[in-house]
């Protein structure tokens, strides 16, 4: 198995925020914490594009590099998780993360910054899989239940894909081939190989 990855298809995302709602509901995420958000570029302008953003479970995660207490770890599936018993809530990871994934719940009477919370790819944390303790700290562990992340499974247009990186890449490549455009974007050759069948036909609109 390759690494678990998210891909959001900007051609399909309709900014419904279903993924955000699914995540909040599945993990009972506290008020003020958004593990996933929908970002819209050129909002209100014809041709606007939206993408759903959360922790991208980076292969070389900056949050792991800067954490002073080394609370992060990466699973064999490539999911970046953290141990809330070790986290001190310093916020370094939020400064390092290019996606704004780390979230800090306001805890206590004076709303002080609590321990970091972020997308777990629905893989829980270091507590026992599927236990109540794991759910209360990290949310549901859907991977251990044989399921995929709730955000992707609930996406109505299937813009948000999640799963084994190779399988997800195959699905996305097939879409681009079927729709006849998209292979001209920057990075396509790096991701899929410039000689592959994802190249758009001559004269295809972009």
């Amino acid at each position: 198995m390759a690494r678990m990855k998210f891909v959001c298809d900007a051609e399909r995302c309709i900014e419904c925020n279903g993924c955000v709602t699914a995540c909040k509901n599945e993990h009972e995420v506290p008020w003020g914490v958004n593990r996933r958000r929908v970002v819209t570029l050129n909002d209100g302008v014809p041709g606007e594009k939206s993408i759903s953003v959360a922790c991208m479970h980076c292969s070389d995660a900056p949050c792991m590099a800067v954490c002073p207490v080394n609370c992060f770890y990466r699973t064999d599936e490539g999911v970046v998780l953290h141990d809330k018993d070790i986290c001190i809530g310093c916020g370094y990871c939020s400064y390092a993360c290019p996606f704004g994934a780390p979230q800090f719940p306001a805890a206590g009477t004076f709303g002080v910054r609590g321990k970091m919370d972020k997308c777990t790819f629905c893989a829980g944390g270091p507590e026992a899989n599927g236990s109540q303790a794991e759910f209360e700290k990290y949310g549901r562990n859907r991977l251990a239940e044989g399921k995929l992340p709730a955000c992707a499974e609930m996406c109505s247009t299937k813009a948000l894909l999640a799963g084994d990186g190779d399988v997800v890449a195959d699905i996305f490549r097939n879409r681009v081939v079927q729709r006849g455009k998209g292979a001209e974007v920057w990075g396509w050759g790096t991701a899929y190989g410039s000689k592959q069948a994802g190249q758009p036909p001559e004269g295809a609109k972009s």
């Binding site: 829980g124 599927g130 562990n141 239940e145 995929l148 399988v167």
Partner: protein, 76 residues
């Protein structure tokens, strides 16, 4: 005088080496997380794979990815 010096040096040596017996204080060490293919301690697991069998878990997840996220496979 010589004996006192020897005693003092012995005490200092013992005091200096005492730190060598301290327990390691590495942060973040010892984290253990059971892999997801081991299954969950609840009744929400889907059928089609066996807990503890990594290959069956991977196959089930791959099939779920293709069946639920690739609508082109349904149109063919």
């Amino acid at each position: 005088m010589m004996r006192t010096t020897l005693k003092m040096s012995l005490v200092l040596t013992i005091a200096a080496l005492a730190a060598c017996g301290e327990k390691p204080q590495t942060l973040g060490a010892g984290k253990t997380d059971a892999p997801p293919y081991q299954g969950a301690e609840n009744a929400f697991a889907v059928s089609g794979w066996k807990a503890g069998d990594k290959t069956s878990w991977e196959q089930a997840l791959k099939a779920r990815t293709l069946n639920t996220q690739n609508e082109y496979s349904k149109t063919k």
